[in-house]
């Protein structure tokens, strides 16, 4: 497991916006590839590790150069839309059931709709703040989003809509 730990540590050398986008995926891909190469014997595994670490370090250099030479609006536009991303562990059926529920918005009370819109707006602002490296701002929006979600939950209970764990704006 030491190789995986070393890899996770080296991932921290990447720029933060790049890490937010790719670190989990890279770690997942590395762990699967490492598992596959480990059983092929020590020399193969060491060669694999060397290739990975050299690739990672040259990638770190390349990403810092790209970050310093690319306009932030270009780099920011491939940030994931958190409202569209299914969190780990949430089944696809449950996620999309929530989305379809959201299509029937005409029947929702106005205060629930505006609470949902506020949560969505705060998510967007958090993403935008991260893209622009405004981390204190991102923390503030994230905190406000938590409060807005609490409010939304309270409104859903008030209108007897239940607390399905999906408030229509995740």
């Amino acid at each position: 497991m030491r190789a995986e730990q070393a890899y996770r540590t080296l991932l921290r050398l990447y720029p933060s916006d790049y890490r937010a986008l790719f670190a989990l995926e890279m770690q997942n891909a590395f762990e699967r590839a490492a598992e596959e190469h480990r059983v092929l014997g020590r020399p193969v595994f060491i060669r694999f590790l060397l290739g990975e670490f050299v690739g990672l370090l040259s990638g770190v250099g390349g990403e810092w150069i790209a970050k310093l030479t690319t306009d932030s609006s270009v780099r920011g536009r491939c940030l994931p839309d958190l409202r569209m991303m299914r969190p780990p562990g949430v089944p696809r059926e449950l996620w999309f059931a929530g989305a379809f529920q959201g299509h029937g918005r005409g029947s929702l009370p106005d205060e629930v709709l505006s609470a949902q819109a506020r949560v969505s707006m705060l998510i967007q602002r958090t993403v935008h703040a991260i893209a622009n490296h405004d981390f204190p701002g991102a923390r503030r929006y994230s905190h406000e989003e938590r409060l807005a979600r609490e409010e939304l939950r309270r409104l859903r209970q008030k209108h007897d809509m239940g607390d399905a764990g999906n408030d229509g704006c995740s």
Binding site: E25, N28, G51, G59, E63, R75, C78, P80
Partner: protein, 111 residues
């Protein structure tokens, strides 16, 4: 917008990534495996190289993130955009012309 035609030949990793995604959407590990098999084991992209190229392709709007049955933040699939497919065709055409010119020249020389 950076979505403009490529002015120079694509690098090998980029070409292989586009070729792999031309068939169907894939996530990172699946791309690594497919590229290895596409190149007969000659090219094995490290995760650093692969995701660096994916980041550039996302910025150029040649690929996009794609929701699959098993999509999570750890396992995100990518697919080719129409602009990416156009670039791939342009690159393959460039290579075809080059191969044709080279073959003609070699035949002329040998005749």
């Amino acid at each position: 917008m950076r979505n403009k035609p490529a002015s120079k030949p694509l690098t090998e990793p980029v070409l292989l990534i586009l070729l792999s995604l031309a068939e169907k959407p894939r996530h990172g590990y699946s791309l690594m495996k497919d590229i290895e098999s596409l190149s007969d084991g000659r090219v094995r992209l490290s995760t650093g190289t692969l995701y660096g190229a994916l980041r550039r392709l996302l910025e150029d709007l040649w690929i996009e993130r794609f929701e699959q049955d098993d999509t999570t933040r750890e396992k995100q699939a990518y697919k080719l955009t129409p602009a990416g497919r156009k670039q791939l065709h342009a690159e393959l055409e460039r290579m075809r012309q080059l191969t044709h010119a080279a073959t003609t020249r070699i035949r002329t020389r040998e005749a």
